[in-house]
């Protein structure tokens, strides 16, 4: 059974419908990437899980349980951790305080959790008392991911985690994503850097104009000539 599934979703912001019949699912222990051109509805698909927009028809299920239109705070409590693309850390709070806030819905055992996170993200341990706003973009992204993992996440949603980062940090983020997967947390990731994303993903979805266009194994999509020409940039 899928951990998370979006079934035939028609959704958007108020009157504006962005997604037309989008279906995406994530199985246990999988990294799934959503790629596609700008404005294809990638982030919208992710936000529909969080109850942040209007779902006209279709549903969202977590471990087979319908969670369509559940408010964000409740979705988080159910075990879906979401890292927004921008403004994903509390800049005036220290690194450690950011992680503590991440554990809001699961306040017990924070100490142990913090220790685990500082092990998974060694750089953050040294900067635990520094304001998150004083960190570099890449480090902030690490804080945002660690913050999201402070709860017993059943799945981690990452919205363009490498946007605006230098190639060095991009690589580091993708390595971290694989590390997170190895701890048993499945990941759904929306990415502009489609090549790298499909490189680490088990499966991928290509969304175009708010609808499913292609789907397949990460490697297959990466090697598909048409997809390469249209979305991955440059001739393959």
């Amino acid at each position: 059974m899928s951990v998370l599934s979006l079934n035939n979703l028609y959704a958007g912001y108020g009157q504006t419908e962005v997604l037309h019949d989008v279906s995406i699912f994530v199985n246990p222990n999988e990294i799934v990437a959503i790629i596609g051109p700008n404005g294809a509805g990638k982030s919208t698909a992710m936000k529909s899980v969080l109850g942040l927009l209007t779902i006209n028809s279709g549903n969202v299920e977590l471990n087979g349980k319908d969670i369509t239109n559940t408010p964000a705070a409740e979705v988080v409590r159910l075990g879906i951790s979401y890292v927004p693309q921008t403004q994903n850390v509390f800049v005036n709070l220290s690194v450690q305080e950011n992680l503590e806030m991440g554990a809001w819905t699961r306040p017990l055992g924070i100490r142990e959790r913090l220790a685990e996170m500082f092990e998974l993200f060694p750089d953050l341990g040294e900067k635990r008392n520094q304001a998150a706003g004083s960190l570099s973009g890449g480090q902030r992204q690490m804080v945002a991911m660690a913050k999201a993992l402070m709860v017993d996440a059943k799945i981690l949603l990452l919205d363009e985690p490498t946007a605006g980062l230098s190639p060095k940090y991009r690589g580091e983020i993708f390595t971290t994503i694989q590390k997170i997967k190895s701890t048993g947390v499945p990941i759904l990731i929306v990415e502009q850097n489609a090549k790298q994303a499909l490189g680490v993903a088990d499966r991928g979805y290509v969304l175009v104009d708010g609808a499913n266009r292609y789907t397949g194994k990460g490697k297959e999509l990466l090697e598909d000539r048409e997809i390469a020409r249209m979305f991955l940039g440059g001739g393959h």
Partner: protein, 316 residues
């Protein structure tokens, strides 16, 4: 030196400036927290201060009439706080919550309406005339006077001012503990930082809002009671008169920055009083009638030169 300059300056300008500064500071804490967390300028904040003072007075009067004992205002302020906090919750639920997702200006206007409603309610219940809060003349604290005379100075500080200083320090220490050490305080800072992120982090924003009303409310009531202790009377316009300087203090310190509000409050309070000191010649530098103008001038200059305030708050 002390004879010619110090006596007058310290006792009649500096100490009153600090007292006023403490009152502004406590009031500005609530304004800056509401602005940071609920994202609107609460015009009714001064009225809640005033109501706190009126309720405190009422509790003192009841205690005297029924039990025949004189209760210290700070003690009577505790039950008064509970009433005012419920009033805060009530206004939030019926007035501000429906506007939570609306334009800020609508909430600001709602708070303006709330201000008029609260003041009128107080006028209906307690009457529009001044009431005596604490009768009599406040004498300088004798031991402080004795001690300062021994070292060649002469401090004329009444007990009520010592209470105000000590109370303000206590409130600021407790506030800093709450904001930096407790879970709810950190969440208040988080919501102030980014409400959207707080929402998708799973933070119970409604709980944070209630906490904000409590913290801001308790500080406002303390400010109202301190003001009433200082001027020894109650007026229905006392809160409104504090509103501009308190906003000036919040802006000076940086919107959303509680410590900034404290510093801002002290600076505004001192500036207002010291502007009337005869710095040049024998006449006051500025006529005391312009005191409020000083706060206004500081606010305007700050908004032009450094809108984010001294401590890098939110600019708007």
């Amino acid at each position: 030196m002390w004879e010619s300059f110090g006596f007058e300056f310290v006792n009649f300008y500096f100490i009153p400036g600090l007292v006023l500064g403490c009152i502004y500071a406590l009031g500005a804490i609530g304004i800056t927290l509401t602005f940071g967390i609920l994202r609107f300028a609460n015009f009714a904040h001064g009225e809640l201060m005033m109501m706190g003072a009126y309720l405190t007075w009422t509790i003192m009067a009841i205690a005297t009439a029924v039990l025949g004992i004189a209760v210290h205002p700070l003690l009577a302020a505790i039950p008064a706080s509970i009433v005012v906090i419920y009033l805060f919750f009530w206004t939030d639920k019926f007035f501000y919550k429906p506007f939570r997702k609306a334009d800020t200006i609508k909430v600001v206007m709602a708070s303006f309406g709330m201000m008029l409603i609260l003041r009128s309610a107080v006028q209906v219940i307690w009457g529009p005339n001044q009431l005596t809060f604490v009768p009599g003349i406040a004498k300088p604290n004798p031991s402080l006077l004795g001690w300062s005379s021994d070292i060649g100075a002469m401090l004329l500080i009444p007990n009520k001012h010592l209470f105000i200083f000590a109370g303000t320090i206590l409130f600021v220490v407790v506030l800093s503990y709450i904001l930096n050490r407790t879970r709810i305080g950190k969440a208040m800072r988080a919501v102030s930082d980014s409400p959207d992120l707080a929402h998708v982090t799973g933070i119970d924003v409604d709980q944070v809002i209630r906490a904000t009303w409590i913290v801001g409310g308790v500080c406002a009531i303390a400010a109202g009671v301190f003001l009433a202790m200082d001027i020894q009377m109650l007026e229905t316009t006392m809160g409104f008169r504090m509103l501009l300087p308190m906003f000036a203090a919040a802006i000076l310190g940086g919107i959303g920055k509680p410590y900034g509000a404290v510093v801002g409050g002290l600076v505004i309070g001192l500036s207002e009083e010291l502007s009337a000191y005869p710095w040049i010649g024998d006449a006051p530098l500025l006529s005391p009638g312009y005191k409020t103008g000083v706060a206004f001038a500081i606010m305007v200059v700050m908004l032009i030169v450094r809108p984010q305030g001294l401590f890098k708050g939110r600019s708007f």
